[in-house]
């Protein structure tokens, strides 16, 4: 199988070189999808599923490590400031401390994670930038977004119980956020449906874009409808934050900490996605090799060996 494919070492080859060798960054050959070319293409998908160097460079490892360290430090500082340094609110009392983590968590889920997944999906669907890299970025981002989205609902509920007197209400902001969680859980379920990597990537990219339509609805829900949920504190219509002093700085640090944490998580999760594709590709390749071996074995040669010459 490997002998018929141009640019056999594309797993370690930069994308432009792979494209020049008739194999684009996704791992497709320039050939058609039938006959020998089709067979080559399957092989490419198996091997090109990695599509990136099997090991990250030392520089990337260092960047990710520093991202992790800075995220951890800023998170510790946020917790310390939020729980022990900042004063209680005049109206909310100590409950205001929950707001140093709830909006930053929501920021990561709605805008960073789902925003990045929508952008990556768009870049995958656009022919000129189509690469499994974007599909993996979207997958990594959505999974993290789902975790943060669930935490948004939980921390919001913990704040709402003593403030509103209920754990949950069918408020526009809450309902649209819950719907967002369900939509992106659907995306993760769709990724588990067995399919050709290319087909799966295309399906998921469309699903991510459809699900992302709910994000502006969540954002503007407090403007469009009469809701129990308060309006924007920082990014309001007048762009004048209604939080000041140490409370404002702690909230800002919370946003920075969660953003750094998200960036670090995406890097780690992306690596997991690459490895999963590699393992999947290896498994596919092994099963194809076994099939071929069966075909070349005279005991199994009847009929099965007729297309042997093509591979």
């Amino acid at each position: 199988m490997t002998t018929t494919v141009p640019g056999g070492a594309e797993g370690t080859m930069p994308a432009p070189e792979r494209a020049a060798n008739g194999v684009d960054p996704v791992g497709h050959t320039a050939g058609g999808a039938d006959g020998d070319a089709g067979r080559e293409r399957v092989g490419d998908l198996a091997r090109g599923a990695a599509g990136v160097p099997s090991r990250p460079s030392a520089r990337n490892v260092m960047v990710v490590r520093w991202l992790g360290i800075s995220a951890a430090v800023s998170l510790v500082a946020t917790v310390w400031l939020g729980l022990w340094v900042t004063p209680p609110d005049k109206v909310q009392g100590d409950l205001v401390r929950l707001l140093y983590i709830h909006p930053p968590i929501a920021w990561v889920a709605l805008y960073l994670a789902f925003g990045l997944s929508a952008l990556a999906s768009l870049l995958y669907l656009w022919r000129r930038t189509r690469s499994l890299f974007w599909d993996r970025v979207a997958a990594a981002s959505v999974e993290i977004g789902v975790v943060f989205n669930a935490l948004t609902l939980v921390t919001g509920s913990l704040w709402g119980r003593p403030t509103w007197g209920v754990w949950w209400t069918w408020d526009a902001r809450l309902t649209s956020t819950a719907l967002l969680l369900i939509l992106f859980l659907g995306y993760l379920a769709l990724r588990r449906v067995p399919a050709d990597p290319e087909v799966r990537a295309k399906r998921c990219a469309v699903a991510a874009l459809v699900a992302f339509v709910d994000v502006p609805i969540v954002h503007f829900s407090v403007v469009w409808w009469q809701t129990l949920h308060q309006g924007a504190t920082v990014l309001n219509a007048n762009l004048s934050p209604t939080v000041h002093g140490s409370m404002a700085w702690t909230l800002l640090l919370g946003f920075v900490a969660m953003t750094l944490l998200f960036a670090w998580m995406v890097a780690v999760r992306y690596r997991v996605e690459v490895l999963a594709d590699q393992v999947g590709g290896e498994e596919l390749e092994v099963s194809l090799a076994e099939r071929r071996a069966e075909g070349s074995d005279p005991a199994h040669a009847d009929g099965a060996g007729t297309d042997r010459g093509a591979s």
């Binding site: 983590i101 935490l151 490895l275 092994v286």
Partner: protein, 94 residues
């Protein structure tokens, strides 16, 4: 403070568990990739050995050291194509 404590505990607890799960998944997959690479190397070696064995068998089956018979003599292919008997020149002269 009860709700605040729970909020922080749940949020950071879940995030911590998710990060641990990421590391566990990465470690397992790295092992799986290493094993697959090892299997592939072994498979390649086995294929190479098989190819060498096949070549050795072919060499053994080939007619080494046998006295050359009439079939082993080189023939004038061009003369065969135009129907000229062996031993005659291209114009058919014996």
């Amino acid at each position: 403070m009860k709700y605040v404590d729970w909020g922080y505990a749940i949020a950071f607890g879940v995030l911590f568990l998710y990060v641990v799960s990421l590391f566990v998944r990465r470690r397992r997959l790295e092992r799986a990739v290493a094993i697959a690479e090892q299997d592939r190397a072994e498979q390649d070696r086995a294929e190479q050995d098989r190819a060498e064995q096949d070549r050795a068998e072919q060499d053994r089956a080939a007619p080494h050291g046998r006295p050359a018979g009439p079939d082993d003599q080189p023939r004038d292919v061009a003369s065969q194509v135009v129907g000229v008997p062996d031993g005659a020149d291209r114009d058919g002269r014996a």
